[in-house]
Amino acid sequence: MEYLISKFNYWVYVALMMIGLYAMISKNNLVKKVIGMSIFQTAIIVFYVSTGAKKGATIPIIAHGHGEAAEAVIEASQYVNPLPHVLMLTAIVVSVATLGVALAIILGIHRKYGTLEEDEIMEKVRQP
């Protein structure tokens, strides 16, 4: 049980990654592929944030930063590791911007071929 709890986050990240990868490879619809890509991205974020978690620690904002306790010694074990949070915070915003680009390309494809199904697009590409 102890082992299960301590590794559960990593198993779920692998499972999410598999779901995303499967959707990207096997799904015929382009929007489904993009959803798969987003699931893949969030799997990576789950992994990073999980490595930053710490037992018995609080959120990474220094308590009483400017109060009378400001002189108190800050122990690293009191606060969650902030570094993965920083990396993932920007990754989330960038992922929504790239999602916008992906959806724009999908709209462009739909404008040209009138469908979002991969096999139908391939048929139209082969015989113009």
Binding site: I61, I74, V96, L107
Partner: protein, 342 residues
Amino acid sequence: MIWQLDLFILGMIVVCALASIMVKDLMSAAIIFGAYSFLMCLLWTEMGSVDVAFTEAPVGAGVGTVFFIAAVFRTSRHVSRRSEGRLGMKFLGLLGAFMTGLLLMTGVHDFPGWADPNSPASQHVSTYYITKTIEDTSVPNIVTSVLADYRGFDTMFETAVIFTAGIAVTLILRRLGGGGGSHSVSGPAYTTTAGYPDTIIRFISRQLVPFMQLYALYVVAHGHHSPGGGFQGGVILGASFILLGISYDLKTTLNRISERANIALGNLGVLIYAGIGVVCLLLGANFLDYSALSKLLPGATEITARSHGMLGIEIGVAIAVMAIMVSIYVNLASHGKHDEGL
């Protein structure tokens, strides 16, 4: 760090992920994916990463879902049944995914346990950030100080990536004059009430917008002391314009913030960020070393100047993110024609 909650949310997340790729209706898939993002947001909060949760809430569950809905609305809603028979490809995909998963599973055994205080990731540079942030920068929110100061280069180029994405969307979709493409598909994919004036929705959105914008400004300005900052505030600010565009129509949004203004603001945001870096350079310090700004700011010591410098670049980030989110939405929702929207 409550492991029961962790297990429960992660289970729900996997269910949502499976549901959103299995369901045949793309609009449902988009909505389920929004729920998935919201569960993610709960998970981040549970693991103590409040800033990531705050970003995920407006970005993943809010604007991301709106982008999906706009794209589905402009194309087709249903997945064709005809292509269900490609078993070979499905099997190959499943095999590939399983092999990759198996490989990663074998690696999981060697990871340090979840929430282990002695894991290597929590040992080296992160202890420096936690213990020195008040001393170096006088900013209590460690995530902000790492984001905007210690790793300012990273964030500058992330902002540049967002700006580039906005330009790319405009380049791909924008059509001047609304001339039809070769396959100009007949209108939206299904019957809608687009343009139908729903008084209740319009009234509530109209009342909500100023408060959203005020809150966004608070989030930007207060990012040093509480979760939040330029990215979150910028997305909320953009979401307020997107809400206007959804509840009224695109014209209303574009009257408030025109396409030209959008692009200019996107530029301006990145320019503010890089400009502060250059000002530091001109004052004789390194690029983005805000302590040099104490020479310009009256009453600021070298330490508080770093805090003020961070506020400056957060404002730049917020402006850029807001403009790009609005610009992407406007282009997606109107297929690049900027006429009616959803």
